[in-house]
């Protein structure tokens, strides 16, 4: 069964993606959605911007999916990540894993999101209600984002 890592400039259609996970031998399906929160580190977030180094990120993302398939007994694993400007509550990343048994589905899903956050060249800029904004983890003083 096809497994994939993709980017989307459009809103992520979770219901449609979830349908793709159907498989007669898949007794367990675990999904993770990362959504835009209205706050971070005590500041009110009004929207978020995601930028990716698409070519390298796609390769690295696919490697993570392949590792998940190799190290866990799962049937399929998919990941879609948004780019561009997102509003509060929008889905920034969706991961879906199906497996015969739940343990492998949970472990693989968590592996994918943990590795994605560590390794895949995607960057997040938060825009605050103060009018400030900042690239997460990129400021030399991380809790004091640069002014626009």
């Amino acid at each position: 069964m096809l497994s994939s890592f993709k980017f989307s400039i459009d809103a992520i259609d979770v219901a449609r993606l979830q349908d793709n996970l159907s498989h007669p031998s898949a007794g367990a399906v675990v999904t993770f959605e990362g959504r835009v929160r209205n706050h971070n580190e005590g500041q009110r977030v009004v929207r978020l911007e995601y930028e990716a180094f698409i070519e390298l990120a796609s390769k690295e993302g696919q490697r993570i999916i392949d590792e998940a398939l190799k190290h866990h007994t799962i049937v399929t694993a998919h990941c879609v990540h948004r780019t561009g400007l997102l509003e509060i509550g929008e889905v920034a990343v969706w991961i879906g894993v199906s497996a015969g048994h739940r343990g492998a589905a949970f472990d693989a899903c968590r592996y994918i999101i943990d590795q994605l956050k560590q390794r895949v060249p995607i960057w997040k800029k938060e825009h605050y209600d103060s009018g400030n904004s900042g690239w997460i983890h990129c400021d030399t003083t991380p809790n004091n984002p640069t002014s626009l």
Binding site: F53, H81, I113, I122, W123, I136
Partner: protein, 80 residues
């Protein structure tokens, strides 16, 4: 003298004021090139927090550059 294609993302794109450029340099490694660009564009991130990709693959800071290489410096990632 090498001619490279440089690609800037996120905070580097903003600090350089452009997403990419052709760049001629005497730098022979990615490490030397980053030091040069730090001075040119006032990049504040120390190399320890940055990764480097040549021709769309992560690589070592000591990798030797070749003319025509596409080089990108990767600020700390924050996907998900």
């Amino acid at each position: 003298m090498l001619t490279l294609h440089l690609h800037y993302f996120a905070i580097f794109r903003e600090q350089a004021g452009k997403p990419s450029e052709k760049h001629s340099t005497h730098a022979s490694t990615a490490a030397e090139l980053y030091t040069e660009l730090q001075q040119l564009y006032d990049f504040k991130l120390p190399p320890s927090q940055v990764k480097v990709a040549i021709n769309q693959e992560f690589c070592d800071w000591q990798q030797r550059l070749e003319s025509g290489d596409h080089v990108a410096f990767i600020p700390p990632v924050a996907g998900g």
